[in-house]
Amino acid sequence: MIVLQSSDKETFEVEEAVAMESQTIKHMIEDDCVDTSIPLPNVTSKTLAKVIVYCKKHVVKDKTCDHEEELKKFDVEFMKGLDQDTLFDLILAANYLNIKSLLDLTCQTVADMIKDKSPEEIRKIFNIKNDFTPEEEDAVRQENAWAFE
């Protein structure tokens, strides 16, 4: 068993195989850098708990059609109803912990929110400030004119 410690000092005991879903943790274990517990200063307990739920489900390497279907359903449920803050926390955690499948899943979810939207809609959804001057924005639009046809 491996002990993971979140940024807010909560500890989570998980099986080594589950922890190794994270390439970052895998390298730490293989390079023998691990003490009693592995500190993860970039991940809060709330996010780490969710990551562990994901890894526990995905650690089973069963290539059957049924299992693949089950995983797909799990992924859909996992992403359902997540608020934006949690979604981005998961992306940051998946990136830091280097869990490719979770990064793919979370990034695709955000990508689906961007698809076919206008720049103004995207700004609204993610509360992004437009830091272009009108002239700069015009220039970028001209550069990418084909995308607006």
Partner: protein, 274 residues
Amino acid sequence: MKFDLLPQDCVSYILSCTSPRDACRSSTVSSEVRDAADSNLMWEKFLLSDYPEIISRLVSPVEFKSKKELFLKLSTPLLIDGGKKIFSIDKSTSKKCYMLSARDLYIPWATNSLYWCWKSLLESRFVEVAELIMVCWLEIQGTINTKMLSPNTTYGAYLIVKFPDRAFGLETLPSEVFVEVGEHRSQGTIYLRCNGGIKTELGRDSVDTLGSRDIGGSVERVIEKREDGWLEIELGDFYNDGSEREVKMSLREVKGQHLKGGIVVEGIELRPKL
């Protein structure tokens, strides 16, 4: 807001999960998003993994300062394989498209100047197009190996043609069109009407060129106008699952004993079908 906390790599990764069009549109959201949208990391994903090999086969070298620039250049039609084919990346789907030139097709009697002649046309991207003088046996066939195309994609094959004023005999009988890959066969019929309308069963002309009609298992195709001034006839479609197979695409009117002439063939285009 949390979005601002994402490192540029993550934003690039998110944008690479959309489409080239969405990514370019997002460039105007903010300077940070623009930087992520212009990054080589992102455009690497849209560029096909074998792009170095494709670049090596182009007739004219392409120069590029960024992966985005390379993608945009490759998404314009470019002569490849000694000028026998044209290649481009479909901007919306990032999939490969090819046009086989008339010289790259199998056209019986095409080497005999009594039946077919080869000429240069300004409106064609190829050096030569084939014009039918007259034959009884009209057959135009192209083949391509699926390994040249993008996997996990449905492709449509289209014969690109023009009908000069002197065209004759082409619409007397319907031509057969088909696409064959392994066990799969997609087929149809078409009346090569020179004014582009479709001929209905009752013989009434219809100016409506949208859509095809099903007639007893074989779809009646229509001639569609293209943006480049040519006309296209859908020969059929197929799904490329990534396995290596030969695709055969064909138009034939070989049942009629009468002479036909006047069709100009630019080539056969393969592009993703949405």
